[in-house]
């Protein structure tokens, strides 16, 4: 009970936040969410395809009693588009939460930090709980905190790349310097050990999607990620031993039988 993630006044049981994209079927997604133990999932806002007569809706497959929905502004390249998208998301759902993305480049999907700060400022004033996706940059992180962001969500590697943690130093600096709001790694995790390594730095949580959804067995990977996040958190709290160059015996060095 003493170790829970609290974002914007909301207590989460799990330190894993999952995306809902790229799954082969809605059923597979629902099972992966379940197995992962997550209690917050992010969803994207898009035009309704008026030609699609199936009318099957993502929200039919997400138990809203079990998961908090975190709408996102994925695909937005300007502050204005992100603000519009956030407002539309708020109209559909009874939530003022938003995972804010303002993308600056198509190939890297790196954030446009200037647009991000602009949109954060506007949305906080509009009463949103804003969780911005940003570069691993301390200065923009501080500006976003000052603007009222409820969490700081730096990438660990490009979105969907599965490269693992490419920026340990910057994440460690962010961990030391950003204490006012939770620090969530958003993007880059490829496998369970990546999640553990990030958690061992002391980040408060991890948001991921592709690493699970595109694994050969998404259900098993969801479980692996759940365990990895838990393991990393416990290890962080336990305090690792210092690294030493030479051996240090773990058995008594006296009393040997001669």
């Amino acid at each position: 009970m003493s170790d829970q993630l609290v974002i914007g006044g909301r207590t989460l049981k799990s330190r894993l936040i999952l995306g809902t994209g790229k799954y082969d079927t809605f059923e597979l997604m629902a099972r992966a969410l379940e197995v992962s133990g997550t209690d917050m999932v992010t969803v994207a806002v898009r035009r309704v395809n008026l030609g699609d007569k199936s009318k099957e809706s993502l929200l039919d497959h997400i138990d809203l009693k079990k998961y908090y929905l975190l709408p996102n502004t994925a695909g937005c390249y300007t502050a204005d588009d992100a603000i519009r998208t956030a407002m539309m998301a708020r109209e559909v759902l009874d939530t003022n939460w938003i995972k804010l993305e303002v993308i600056g480049d198509e190939q890297t999907l790196f954030p446009d930090n200037i647009g991000l700060l602009e949109a954060t400022t506007v949305l906080v004033k509009e009463g949103f709980v804003v969780l911005p996706y940003l570069n691993d940059d301390l200065i923009i992180a501080r500006r976003l905190v000052d603007a009222g962001a409820a969490a700081i969500m730096p990438l660990a590697a490009p979105i969907g790349s599965g490269l693992g943690i490419q920026n340990f130093t910057n994440l460690k600096i962010l961990r030391e310097m950003i204490q006012q709001v939770p620090l969530i790694v958003d993007a880059g995790v490829g496998t369970a050990s990546d999640a553990t390594l990030a958690m061992e730095i002391g980040v408060d949580g991890i948001l991921m999607n592709t690493g699970i959804a595109c694994a050969r067995d998404p259900i098993a990977m969801a479980e692996a990620m759940k365990l990895a996040v838990t393991a990393g958190r416990l290890a962080y709290q336990s305090g690792r031993i210092p690294r030493k160059l030479y051996a240090s015996a773990s058995s008594p060095t006296t009393g040997l039988s001669r």
Binding site: L18, G19, T20, G21, K22, Y23, F26, M29, T42, V43, A44, V45, R46, R47, V48, L50, K55, S57, L58, L59, L69, P71, N72, A74, G75, R84, T85, M87, M88, A89, E91, V92, L93, E101, I103, L109, Y133, I159, G160, D186, A187, L207, M208, N209, T210, A213
Partner: protein
Amino acid sequence: MLTVVVNGDEKNVEDGAAIADLIAHLELKPERVAVELNRKILKRAEWPSTRLVEGDKVEIVHFVGGGAS
């Protein structure tokens, strides 16, 4: 008949049709979509009273699976 643009495509609707009628005509679940009329968001309560006029641009969005961009 009026011609309006819905999600980029021209649609014909009855004269005097309201946003709520359009949503019903498209067989969309009202609680699952948000509507922008000429780039201004409409609250659901405004749908029945907001009548479409010739050339209106309507955007209808919903949630889809996604994590990041």
